[in-house]
């Protein structure tokens, strides 16, 4: 029996995950990673960070740790902020890839968020959160994990306010801005009046991003040899200012014991 051929992850037409063209100008581009409860995106966010720092992703399709980045250095910097996981979660996962700790910063937006911020006005609070991301404007990437949770945590916060005071200022602080969001509530396709702001948030992210990477489980349920599908689709933002374009594609992937394998669908 022949083994299924593994595929490298490519997003742009120059056969790269993150093209150098994204860093050549002064543009600020946004990418959207959507996931569900059963297909969490940590491995994909790590792969994007790795690709941004070193121009290659060794965490995907590699079986040994030898090829990882223990001695590699980079002039670039990644900042990861999460509302759902603490800093230890991302630090551990990046340490496993042997990425040197000077190349990334993890902003813990979860620990004591409610206790410290319950009495602050909305715009001020969002401004303070933006200030915690101290990255150089050039050669940097910001990954923000589940910012939509702010719509639940801050009473009365609207999608427009979230974009105006948080998402847009952050996206201007880096070259590549990655928003990771959960689409679990849209799986059933029955929207309730309260979910309007969440729907608007996702829609706005789709329009503002140049590419959408969506992780979904198989529609047929759990399988032993496939975790889910990774679909790459163009976002609403034009890529005329770039010399490359997004190649739409779909992969099947297997995430097992911290190794990721990609296959063509």
């Amino acid at each position: 029996m022949s083994t299924v051929q593994r595929q490298d992850l490519t997003i742009f037409n120059d056969q790269t995950v993150l093209s150098r063209a994204l860093l050549s100008g002064t543009s600020h581009d946004m990418m959207l990673v959507s996931s569900t409860m059963s297909t969490q995106p940590v491995w994909l966010l790590n792969a994007l960070a790795e690709s941004f720092l070193f121009g290659k992703t060794t965490s995907i399709n590699s079986s040994s740790d030898n090829s990882r980045h223990s001695h590699e250095n980079s002039s670039r910097h990644v900042v990861i902020g999460s509302f759902i996981n603490d800093s230890k979660f991302y630090t551990n996962s990046l340490q496993r890839l042997k990425i040197h700790s000077t190349l990334y910063t993890v902003v813990d937006l979860m620990t004591d968020f409610v206790v410290k911020n319950h009495d602050k006005p909305r715009s001020k609070l969002l401004g303070l959160l933006v200030e915690r991301f101290t990255s150089p404007e050039m050669n940097s990437m910001i990954i923000i994990d589940q910012p939509e949770i702010l719509l639940s945590l801050i009473e009365g916060l609207t999608c427009d306010e979230l974009f105006k005071y948080f998402i847009s200022p952050l996206s201007k602080r880096c070259n590549i801005f990655v928003v990771s969001t959960s689409t679990e509530q849209f799986q059933d396709h029955d929207f309730e009046p309260e979910s309007t702001e969440f729907v608007r948030f996702i829609t706005k992210c789709l329009y503002k991003s140049i590419v959408q990477l969506s992780l979904n489980p198989l529609e047929t349920g759990r399988a032993k040899d496939v975790t889910g599908s990774l679909r790459i689709a163009r976002g609403g933002q034009l890529t005329n200012h770039l010399s490359v374009h997004v190649v739409e594609n779909e992969y099947l992937y297997l995430n097992e014991r911290e190794s990721i394998k990609l296959f063509y669908r």
């Binding site: 059963s38 969490q40 940590v42 319950h118 009473e155 959960s182 979910s195 759990r222």
Partner: protein
């Protein structure tokens, strides 16, 4: 020459405690000066090595007089707390990862979580569809297990035990409704008594143990069966060893009995959920700080139950703020803290449910069978009523694996059955009706249909039935 009577025990029968005639103990009667120095050193070392936090007997009496000497190799407070958790009877390593786990109180639930328990620093949400209350059983088992840890052998009672439970509920009687430990049926009790007697060292018992099984004497047994016997006994011995190692890890409870004595305020702290989120979170944090080195298990029974929670609690900002704060506390105290919450998923909106699920590390969903299905199962298992399952249990998220991005959702793979002594979870398969039954049923149905078509035959069939009766 001694004037003491022959049968009289020295020290009044008590080791190390000398009493005055009035019954008062002799305090601080240690040998002074030089003698103390030689005795002191091993005592200090023993205190340092004592992982479960138990003070050696008499240690406190001597320390009153001694100058406080800090040894360079003495473990710090954090190390001591860590060691206390490592030696906790309710903590063991996960067989699938390096994480420390604690039991949920249900052995089968521990198994389907794949870690043989809930990893420390993680949370579990038990959802239930429809109006049944199976989740409350699991919640009580979790609570009762916490109390059992506290009362287990080896728990240091001088520091108030090794486990503390925080219950976020208005129901103060919750502690009185906990199930007691299952002691076995009458037959089992008798058997255990006999086994206990046999395990005692006596000449007859030793002779019996050494002797070969009677069937070896009775007939010449094939060599391969003998080997199988030996292999089985070896396996049993290994299993027994593992059981002995974690003998207090999971207790078996009898839900028809009550835990006696009921948990005291030293074992359980009640926090009202009907107060501002900030004060709930600060109270929980204070309680955890009050119990350093202890395993802290937080339980939220019937979260968002309309009888307990006011309408404003159902607001997204209120619920999510509370759970986000709790998640933060659990992750901050990841070495000694776990959370279990139960929720009836039918009473909340889809959006709120998804947002709540997002904040838990593991989720299981109970789907009780409808009445028709139960009737069908009862008919199938007519001769074995104990085999009738009560519903399906779906796994939506597994601790650690789901966070890594592994797809661990399994729907309709497991079924549960709530019994007096166990909440059983087993692999689900649709039972098949016996052919005989179906044949008789079909023949009966056929007869009935014939009866409708041919009135002459109806009298015959009726006669047949009457004869059968």
């Amino acid at each position: 020459m001694s004037f003491r009577k022959r049968g009289e025990a020295l020290n009044g029968g008590e080791r190390g405690v000398r009493t005055l005639p009035g019954g008062r103990p002799l305090v601080n009667r240690a040998i002074p000066s030089a003698g103390n120095a030689s005795m002191r050193a091993p005592t200090d070392r023993m205190t340092a090595l004592n992982l479960r936090g138990r003070a050696p007997p008499g240690g406190s009496v001597m320390s009153d007089r001694e100058p406080h000497v800090v040894h360079p190799a003495q473990p710090s407070v954090e190390q001591k707390q860590e060691a206390a958790i490592l030696n906790h009877p309710g903590v063991r390593p996960s067989p699938v990862s390096s994480h420390l786990v604690t039991s949920t109180g249900s052995e089968d639930l521990d198994k389907i979580l794949t870690h043989m328990g809930l990893p420390l620093g993680n949370s579990l949400l038990i959802e239930e569809q429809s109006t049944t209350e199976f989740n409350s059983i699991l919640c009580r088992l979790f609570t009762a297990q916490s109390i059992m840890y506290n009362r287990a052998e080896g728990a240091s009672h001088s520091t108030g035990g090794n486990t503390h439970l925080i219950a976020l509920t208005l129901n103060q009687d919750f502690a009185k409704e906990l199930p007691g430990v299952y002691k076995g049926s009458r037959k089992e009790m008798k058997k255990s008594k006999i086994a206990e007697e046999q395990s005692k060292i006596s000449v007859t018992n030793l002779n019996e143990q050494k002797s070969t099984p009677s069937r070896y004497k009775d007939l010449k047994i094939a060599w391969k069966y003998k080997l199988a016997d030996e292999k089985d006994s070896k396996n049993a011995a290994q299993r027994k060893e593992t059981e002995n190692e974690y003998q207090h890890y999971t207790s078996q409870f009898d839900i028809t009995s009550r835990l006696i004595p009921a948990p005291s305020s030293a074992e359980i702290t009640f926090i009202s959920p009907v107060q501002p989120v900030i004060s709930i979170l600060s109270q929980i944090e204070q309680t955890i700080k009050k119990h350093p080195g202890k395993l802290v298990r937080i339980v939220i029974p019937s979260f968002l139950h309309p009888a307990m929670y006011p309408p404003k609690s159902f607001k997204l900002s209120s619920t999510i703020s509370l759970l986000h704060g709790l998640r933060s506390i659990i992750k901050k105290n990841e070495n000694n803290c776990v959370l279990l919450a139960t929720l009836s998923s039918d009473i909340i909106s889809n959006l709120l449910r998804v947002q709540i699920e997002n904040l838990f590390d593991s989720i299981v969903n109970l789907e009780p069978f409808p009445q028709e299905m139960l009737q069908f199962l009862e008919a199938v298992y007519k001769s074995q009523p104990n085999k009738v399952q009560h519903g399906l249990i779906h796994i939506l998220k597994l601790p650690i694996f789901s966070d890594r991005g592994e797809m661990r959702v399994s729907r309709s793979e497991w079924a549960f059955r709530n019994g007096r002594k166990r909440f059983e979870i087993e692999e689900w398969s649709i039972p098949v009706e016996d052919n005989d039954d179906s044949n008789t049923k079909s023949s009966a149905a056929a007869e009935k249909s014939h009866a409708h078509s041919d009135p002459n035959q109806s009298s015959k069939s009726n006669t047949k039935i009457s004869l059968e009766y």
